[in-house]
Assembly symmetry: C2
Homo-oligomer: 660 residues x 2
C-alpha cells in the first residue's frame, strides 16, 4: 500500500477530446505531441515517460518526457500505421537525481559530510535486484566508486559525469511511480484524410452532345481532364435511381411534364434504392470500369451517402415502419415549415425499428465499400442522430480502416464539431462565407490554434451545387482564382464543384446563393475548352500542393503582417522537411490592384542576413527579397495570388553573388 507515497500529480494532459471520450485524430506520419502538468510537493526531481501502443499490442512503448516550463512536460510518439493507438503517462520522483543535485551543492559549498552519500547508495541498492545482471554489475561498481572516493573533489567529478544510461529511469522512482488515470485514444487514418483535392461533378452532365444524359462511359472520357487539373478525388452526387413521384424540374419547380431528370438526392424508384445504379448512368460494370480508370489516373471516386428516400423508394413498401405515416395514409415527407420537399421522405430515426434501419444503412455502406468505394461524402449528417454516425463509422472502419467520411454539415458550430468527434474524417466548413482578411484569419486560427484541431479536419470548398457565394457571383474570374487559391493553401483538404467553377459559370437566382438553372435539376453539357477557363491555373495550384509538403497539412499556417487590408499573407513550413517553406499572398480585392509591404518572421524561416529567393510557383517568376519587409503588388486582372517557395539558400549559379 503506497497510496501515501505515490504522490506525483499528472494532470491537464493534452491532447484529449472531451476528456478522452472521443479519440484524437491523426494521419500516418503525423506524430502525437503529448503534454502534461507533472509535479509533486516540494522540490524533488521528477521523471516521466510517455507510454503508447497500438490498441491490440500487449506491451507499452516508453519515451522519456522532457521538462518544458512551469511544471509542463512533453514528449511525442510517431504514428506509422493506420489504426487505433492508446497513450498514457507515468511519472515518479527521481530519488537519484534529487540526491545527486543536493550532493553536488553540498560538495561545492564545502558542507559535505560522508553520510551525505547514503541516500544515493540506498537508491542504487533498491533497484539492483530488478535490473539485468550486467546492469547490476555496473551499479555495483558505481556504488564502490562513490564509497571509495578519497576526496570530495574526486567524488564531485565522478558524480557529475555519471549518467546511469543503462537504468530505466522509472526504476529510480522506486515506489513513487504514478500512472495517469486514463488511457487516451488516437485514431490514425491514411494520409488522404488530411491531404485531398476534390472535384465534384454531375455524371449525367458528362456527355458532350447538347442535353444528352451522360453515362459512366462518358465520365471515363473526362478522367484525363480532371487528372490534368491535379485533383485526386472525384465526388459524384447520388448515382442511384431517381424517384418519379413529385419529381422536381428546372429551378426546383414541381415537374409536371415528366421530362425532368429529377434531383439525384430523391433516391429510389422501381429500379432500386441506395444499392442500385441509376440505369441512365449505366451498369455496375460500367461503374467498376470507371473506378478502375480513375485509379490509374491517380483519382479515387467518392460517392454520396444521402440517407433519405423518394416516395417511390422500395423501402417505403418493404419497411413502412421506418417512416412516419399520418392518419390519412400519407407518408410524412421532408419539410422545414413552411418549406416542403415533396420529392423526399426522411427516415424516422425514432422508429421502434431503429436497429433494423441502422443495420440496413450499414449494409448499404459496406456494399459500396465492396464495389471499391473508400470515400463517402455524407449528405446532411446533422439531421441524423450522433449515436448512429458513431456506430456506423466505427463499424465500417472495423471492416476497412481506409474508408473516409466527409461530413456535409452546414450547421451550428457545436453540431458540426460533434459530428467530427463521433468519427467523420473531414468536414465542410464556414470557409465558403469567410471573405475578408479579418474573417479568414479569425476562422482559420479558430480551426488550427484551438483544441478543434485535435479532431476536426476542415475541407475548404470554394463552391457547391447548393452554394454559389456572392463573392463568386460578383467577382467573376478573379474571385474564382482567389477563392480556390485560398481554399487550396489554407486547408490541405479542399474542393470545387465543376466544371461550373473553372468555366466561371456564376449566374445565381436573384437574391440567393443558388445557381440559376442548376444541374441539380437538369442535365447540362459543358464546353471544357471554353475561353476563360481557369483550369490551367487550378492545375498549377494543385501542382504546388502536390510538390510541397508544406501545403499538405492544415496545421502549419502562420499569418504574417501585411500593410494592406486587402492583402492576406501566411507562411507554411513543412512539418518534416526543414527546407520546404511556402509564403502565400492573396489580393482579396477582385476589382483593384493592391500593394503593400509584407513582413516575414525571418528567424522562424531560418533566413539569415543574406538576400533570399522567392520563387512564384504559379507564374514561375523569381524575386530577390532581402530583410524582413518586402514589397508585393497583386493585380486581380492578371493573377491575384503569389504562392512563393522560399529559397533561403541561393545557389552560385543564380548569379546573385554580388549581393553577398
Amino acid at each position: 500500500m503506497h497510496f501515501g507515497i505515490k504522490r506525483v500529480v499528472i494532470q491537464s494532459v493534452t491532447p484529449q477530446v472531451n476528456g478522452g471520450v472521443f479519440p484524437v485524430k491523426k494521419v500516418v506520419g503525423e506524430s502525437v505531441t503529448v503534454q502534461a502538468d507533472i509535479f509533486s510537493e516540494g522540490h524533488h526531481h521528477l521523471g516521466a515517460d510517455l507510454l503508447w501502443k497500438e490498441v491490440n499490442e500487449n506491451e507499452w512503448q516508453r519515451i522519456p518526457m522532457s521538462f518544458v516550463e512551469n511544471d509542463r512536460w512533453q514528449a511525442e510518439f510517431p504514428t506509422e500505421t493506420v489504426g487505433n493507438y492508446l497513450y498514457t503517462i507515468e511519472a515518479w520522483i527521481d530519488y537519484y537525481a534529487s540526491w545527486k543535485e543536493d550532493l553536488l551543492k553540498k560538495i561545492k559549498a564545502e558542507t559535505f559530510v560522508n553520510v551525505d552519500i547514503e541516500p544515493g547508495i540506498q537508491v542504487l541498492e533498491s533497484i539492483q535486484g530488478n535490473v539485468t545482471r550486467p546492469v547490476a554489475k555496473i551499479i555495483d561498481s558505481i556504488k564502490k566508486k562513490i564509497k571509495e572516493s578519497t576526496s570530495s573533489k574526486q567524488l564531485l567529478n565522478y558524480i557529475e559525469s555519471l549518467e546511469l544510461n543503462d537504468i530505466p529511469r522509472y526504476m529510480l522512482g522506486i515506489n513513487s511511480v504514478t500512472r495517469f488515470d486514463k488511457e487516451l485514444h488516437v485514431n490514425v487514418k491514411r494520409k488522404k484524410a488530411l491531404f485531398s483535392t476534390w472535384y465534384e461533378f454531375f455524371p449525367r452532365s458528362s456527355n458532350p452532345t447538347e442535353a444528352k444524359h451522360g453515362t459512366f462511359k462518358d465520365c471515363i472520357k473526362l478522367i484525363p481532364y480532371i487528372a490534368s487539373m491535379g485533383f485526386d478525388t472525384i465526388y459524384f452526387p447520388p448515382i442511384h435511381p431517381i424517384g418519379k413521384k413529385n419529381r422536381k424540374g428546372a429551378n426546383n419547380t414541381l415537374c409536371s411534364d415528366g421530362k425532368s431528370p429529377g434531383s439525384p438526392w430523391a433516391i429510389g424508384s422501381k429500379s432500386g434504392g441506395h444499392d442500385a445504379i441509376n440505369p441512365e448512368l449505366g451498369t455496375m460494370a460500367d461503374f467498376h470500369k470507371l473506378i478502375k480508370v480513375a485509379k490509374k489516373n491517380g483519382l479515387e471516386i467518392a460517392i454520396d451517402l444521402a440517407f433519405q428516400c423518394s416516395p417511390d423508394h422500395p423501402y417505403l413498401k418493404k419497411y413502412p415502419e421506418w417512416f412516419k405515416w399520418r392518419s390519412d395514409g400519407t407518408v410524412q415527407f421532408a419539410e422545414n415549415p413552411p418549406k416542403k420537399y415533396e420529392d423526399i421522405v426522411p427516415f424516422d430515426f425514432e422508429s421502434e425499428q431503429w436497429q433494423e434501419l441502422w443495420n440496413e444503412l450499414k449494409r448499404v455502406v459496406l456494399f459500396w465499400v465492396e464495389q471499391g468505394i473508400e470515400i463517402f461524402r455524407v449528405d446532411n449528417p446533422h439531421t441524423k442522430p450522433f449515436p448512429f454516425w458513431e456506430w456506423l463509422i466505427s463499424e465500417v472502419n472495423h471492416k476497412n480502416p481506409n474508408v473516409l467520411f466527409l461530413s456535409e454539415a452546414f450547421t451550428r458550430p457545436k453540431v458540426m464539431k460533434t459530428l467530427a468527434k463521433v468519427g467523420f474524417d473531414q468536414s465542410y466548413t464556414y470557409f465558403t462565407w469567410r471573405n475578408t482578411k479579418e474573417e479568414l484569419t479569425t476562422y482559420v486560427k479558430d480551426l488550427i490554434e484551438s483544441s478543434t484541431k485535435e479532431y476536426f479536419r476542415p475541407n475548404f470548398w470554394a463552391n457547391t451545387p447548393d452554394i454559389l457565394p456572392e463573392y463568386l457571383q460578383y467577382g467573376g474570374k478573379s474571385a474564382h482564382i482567389i477563392r480556390y487559391a485560398l481554399a487550396a493553401t489554407l486547408s490541405s483538404n479542399c474542393g470545387i464543384y465543376g466544371p461550373v467553377y473553372e468555366l466561371i459559370v456564376n449566374q445565381a437566382i436573384v437574391g440567393k446563393e443558388e445557381y440559376l438553372d442548376s444541374e441539380k435539376y437538369e442535365v447540362k453539357t459543358w464546353d471544357l475548352t471554353k475561353n476563360g477557363s481557369i483550369s490551367e491555373l487550378i492545375s498549377l495550384i494543385n501542382k504546388a500542393r502536390r510538390e510541397n509538403p508544406a501545403l499538405q497539412t492544415t496545421w502549419n499556417t502562420k499569418f504574417v503582417e501585411t500593410e494592406n487590408d486587402a492583402l492576406i499573407a501566411y507562411v507554411k513550413k513543412a512539418p518534416h522537411d526543414k527546407c520546404n517553406h511556402i509564403l502565400v499572398v492573396v489580393n482579396l480585392d477582385y476589382h483593384n490592384v493592391r500593394s503593400g509591404m509584407i513582413h516575414l518572421p525571418l528567424k522562424d524561416l531560418c533566413i539569415n542576413d543574406k538576400p533570399y529567393l522567392m520563387h512564384d510557383l504559379i507564374t514561375n517568376e523569381k524575386y530577390i527579397w532581402a530583410g524582413e519587409s518586402n514589397y508585393v503588388e497583386l493585380k486581380p486582372y492578371v493573377i491575384p495570388v503569389h504562392i512563393f517557395k522560399i529559397q533561403s539558400e541561393m545557389k552560385k549559379e543564380n548569379n546573385f553573388d554580388y549581393f553577398m
Copy 2:
C-alpha cells in the same frame, strides 16, 4: 432500449474542477451558475433541467435551464447551508414545442392540413398516463379543444396561448431524456471562507514592558485594539513549546548563550509538542479565556499548523520511524542545500509508518478544534504530499464543516493551485510581489476570470514575518497604506502582520526581504500609540469592507480605464444588492502626486444621464461626478487612495437640484 433515441448531447459543463475530480467551492449565499452545451442533431426544440441536491438527500431538485446562445444553456441553484452538494443535468427533445412551432408556421403560411395536429396530440397522449389526475384532465381538455377547433385561425389562437404550465417539461421528452454522465461536487463553506480580515501577531510580543515575554493574558489586553481596527481573525504563529537544541538567536544566527526565545516554528521540547502550549505564554486555561474574549470582540483565533519538529520534540524518541536517520546516528534536519535549518527536523512522509504519522497529525488538528479553534493557517503545505492534505482536510471537515484551512504555499503556480483543489479554503498568493498596474491587473484577472476562481480563494497579505517586500521597505507610510488598501479591496480575504505594519516598521536586512531583528527570533515590545501609526486608516478601510457587500467578494472586480499608468481603478458591484457599487482608485506611486481622468462604465453601474454622487468612505468627502470621464488626483503624502461608494440616486436634501 432507447439508445438510438436518447440522443441529446450534454457537454462542456461548467463549473468543473479537473473534470469533476475535485469539488467546486462556494460559501453560503453564493449561487452556483451552471452552463452546458446542449444540442441534438437537426432543429428540434430542446428542454433541459439543472438537477441539484445536498449530498445526503435522496431527491433531486430541478430548475429549468434557459438557452443563452450558440447551443449554450444556463441555470443556477442557491447554496443555503454549509455542506456538500451535487449537481447534474438532464436534457431532452421537446416534442411538443417542436410540433407547436411547425404547426404555427404552417397555419400562418396557409399550408396547414388537419393531419398536422396529430403529432401534438400524440405527445399529449403519451404523457397522459404519467401525470396526476387533474393534469390528465387538463390534457384531455386541451386535446379536445385542438381537435374541435373549427378554423385554423381559432386553432392558431388557442395553440399560441397554450403554455402547459402544469406538466413537468421533461415529460415532453418522452424517451429522449439524457442525463449528463457525471454528478459534480460543490463544497459549501461558511461565509468567512470568502470574507475575512486577518491580523497576525506574535503573542510573546504582547507585553508592554520592554523585552518582557508576553503571555496570553497580555494578548487579552490587546483584543480591543485589534478589534477597533476592524479585523475579524487573529492569527498566531505556533504557540507550542520551542526546542532548545540548535535554537536560533537574533537574525537567524545560531544561539549560543541560551538567552534567545527561539523560533516558534522549532516546535517541541520536553514541555510537549504540537498539542502543548509554550509555558512562557501561559496555560491552556489562559488560551481558552483568550479565545472567549476574542469571540466577544468579534474576533476568531487562528493557529498555525507547522508540521515539523525541533530536535527536542517528544516525537523523535516516541516515533523515531517518522524521521530519517543517518548511519552516524544523527537525524536528517531540514535543508535546502547549501542552506541548513538545524533547529528543524522534517517528518519523513515516505516512512513505512506514514499511516500512523497521518493519524497522529489528524489527532493534533482535532485536538485544537476541540479547544475551540476553527481556522488553521498551514505552514509550507507544499512540502507535504497532496494526498495527505486531501485526506486530512476531508476528515477534519467531516467532524466539523466549519473548520477553515489557509494554505501558506509560496510556491509554483500549479502546486499552489493543487493545494486549493485538494481542499484548502484560502491560499496565500503572489499579490505580495505584484506592484505595478499591469502586474496587478494581469494577476487579479488570472485569479477571477479563469477557472481558478472555481476552487482557489485568494488571501492577499501585504506583508508576513517572512516577507517585507521592497515596495514597503522603500515606500514607507504611503506604501503601507497603498498596499493594504489594494489587498483589502482586490481580495475579500486579506491580512497584515502587525503591529510592524501599522507602525511602519520597515527596516530590512540589506538586500533581502527579511525584517531586520525579526520577531521570529526575538521578543519585542511595541508602542501602539506611536505617532505615524496608520491604525486609524486601517479601521476606515476595514469599516468600508464590513459595511459594503461589494467588498465582501473577490469575484466582482472590474478594472476601469485611467489616463495615468500610476492610477489603478476598479469597480465592484455587490452580487445581491443592486445599489452597492464601489469604485476604488489607488495611486501606486508612493512618491508623487498623480492625476488623470477615470472612465466609468455608466450603463453597468445603472447610472443614467444625471450627475451622481461619489462618497469617499476614507475621507468622508463627497464629489459630484457627471458623465463617463471624471478627474482624480491622489497625493501620496495625504491619502493615496479613494474608496468611493457610488450613489447614483442623489437625494433632494443634497441640494444638487440645479444640476437636473
